[in-house]
């Protein structure tokens, strides 16, 4: 019996050993190459990593600039049941994260659980349930009375999903989720403004999202490579093109200086000016794109 166990272990060890030797030999070959000879995917010399804020961070930035709560503009949480295509599911996963950030901003506790449930279900459908577990949903349930905890859980859930998708090389899904989240957050912000005013602080904060769209666009171009996904890059490209039409005014040279407490202050740069025409065009494109995504 003992001999059989040892024999079994040795067989497994040999199998492991063989696979290990294989990767070791590829390692040896790569070591012999110079940096210039390395395949493109291994040469990170010119690699740029583009990052953009989460929906929770976007609404944290917008908070306080007279954004209103309009219950009818969020995507209904039970709509997740009608999303059968994985691309649409990924886009709407992002949409629901933005809806969640929006409703938690206004402390709508009852609705919060429904949105967490929709996110959980979409994760199941996308076979990424390990990124949003039942335990996390239980944590939501146990903290429904504590808005700060819900905001924190929402942030944790978003980061968990990002980590999970990156680890599992599902950048494609992550990009679609980002596109859905950004279109929805812009739609929610812009839909609460009935009439344009250049004195409206929210208009300025919507204008400032140009930078996040720039990075999301570059990230999308890096990660959405197949033909089926090109139409989603177009959504971001169209929104970005409206942003690119905005006037820019140089405040002063960007500079880092120290204040009297010795803290570094980064000042200067460019002020983005969103005209009424820019605003209306952006509203039209965003509304159209968003309605396409959630239908």
């Amino acid at each position: 019996m003992k001999k059989k166990s040892i024999l079994g272990l040795l067989v497994v060890l040999i199998i492991f050993g063989l696979s290990f030797c294989k990767s070791d030999s590829s390692k040896k070959n790569a070591q012999d190459q110079t940096l210039e000879e390395l395949p493109e995917e291994m040469n990170y010399e010119e690699m740029t990593y583009f990052r953009f804020p989460s929906p929770e961070e976007i609404f944290g930035f917008i908070e306080g600039s007279n954004i209103e709560f309009i219950p009818s503009i969020v995507n209904e949480p039970e709509n997740y049941k009608s999303y059968s295509n994985s691309r649409i599911q990924a886009l709407n996963l992002g949409v629901y994260f933005s809806d969640l950030a929006y409703i938690t901003l206004f402390e709508k506790r009852e609705e919060t659980f429904l949105y967490f449930t929709a996110i959980h279900q979409l994760c199941n459908n996308l076979t990424i349930s390990a990124a949003f577990t039942e335990a996390l949903l239980d944590r939501v349930h146990n903290n429904l009375d504590n808005v700060d905890s819900l905001v924190s859980i929402s942030g944790d859930a978003y980061r968990n999903i990002i980590n999970y998708l990156v680890i599992n090389k599902k950048e494609n899904t992550l990009t679609l989720m980002g596109i859905g989240a950004y279109v929805e957050s812009l739609f929610l912000s812009i839909s609460t403004i009935e009439e344009y005013s250049n004195k409206n602080e929210l208009v300025q904060k919507i204008a400032d999202q140009k930078y996040a769209y720039e990075n999301l666009y570059n990230y999308s171009v890096q990660n959405l490579n197949n033909e089926y996904d090109k139409e989603y890059i177009e959504i971001i490209k169209n929104i970005k093109s409206v942003y690119d039409k905005m006037e820019t005014i140089k405040i002063e040279d960007t500079k880092m200086s120290k204040n009297e407490d010795g803290k570094l202050i980064l000042s200067g740069g460019i002020k983005l000016v969103m005209s009424e025409d820019n605003f209306n065009e952006l509203k039209e494109i965003v509304t159209k794109s968003r309605n396409e995504i959630i239908k």
Binding site: S5, Y44, E45, M47, S54, L264, I265
Partner: protein, 153 residues
Amino acid sequence: MKILVRVIILILFSLPLIGNSQNCDNFFETSCILPSNWDYEINSQSMNIPMYSGQSFKYSAVFYEGLEYSICFCAEEGLGNIRYRLLSTDVYLDQIFNSDFDSNMAHMEFINKNTRIILVEVQVLREQGKRIDPTDKKCLGIIIGQKKIEDEW
């Protein structure tokens, strides 16, 4: 014989760990010690990158107006010292901060008065004479912290 069995079991269990040694999943979340009194919220733009000594890369992130930020670099042991600089992307790429002038500090903090993209150029320094080995990857964590400004400026 018992010893042989134990050795085999030990090798079997350690194989997956050896295989994942260049896997940087959750590196900064589990392996980095943040500066004491670091009272920032971790921003979702933080990330882990597998790197080798001598490698450089660029990192582009969005920084909102009216927030105080902290940028921390956390390198796995043996990776090497980190050199970095922040570049403004307004019109041209202009240097706004260079770690060389601040004794290679592993983190820096600043108050941001205008929403902007900052491009961070990062280089992992390698010991002089040491050969670049792209297969010898270790982890680098870039941790962005943010908080609301305590006092109005």
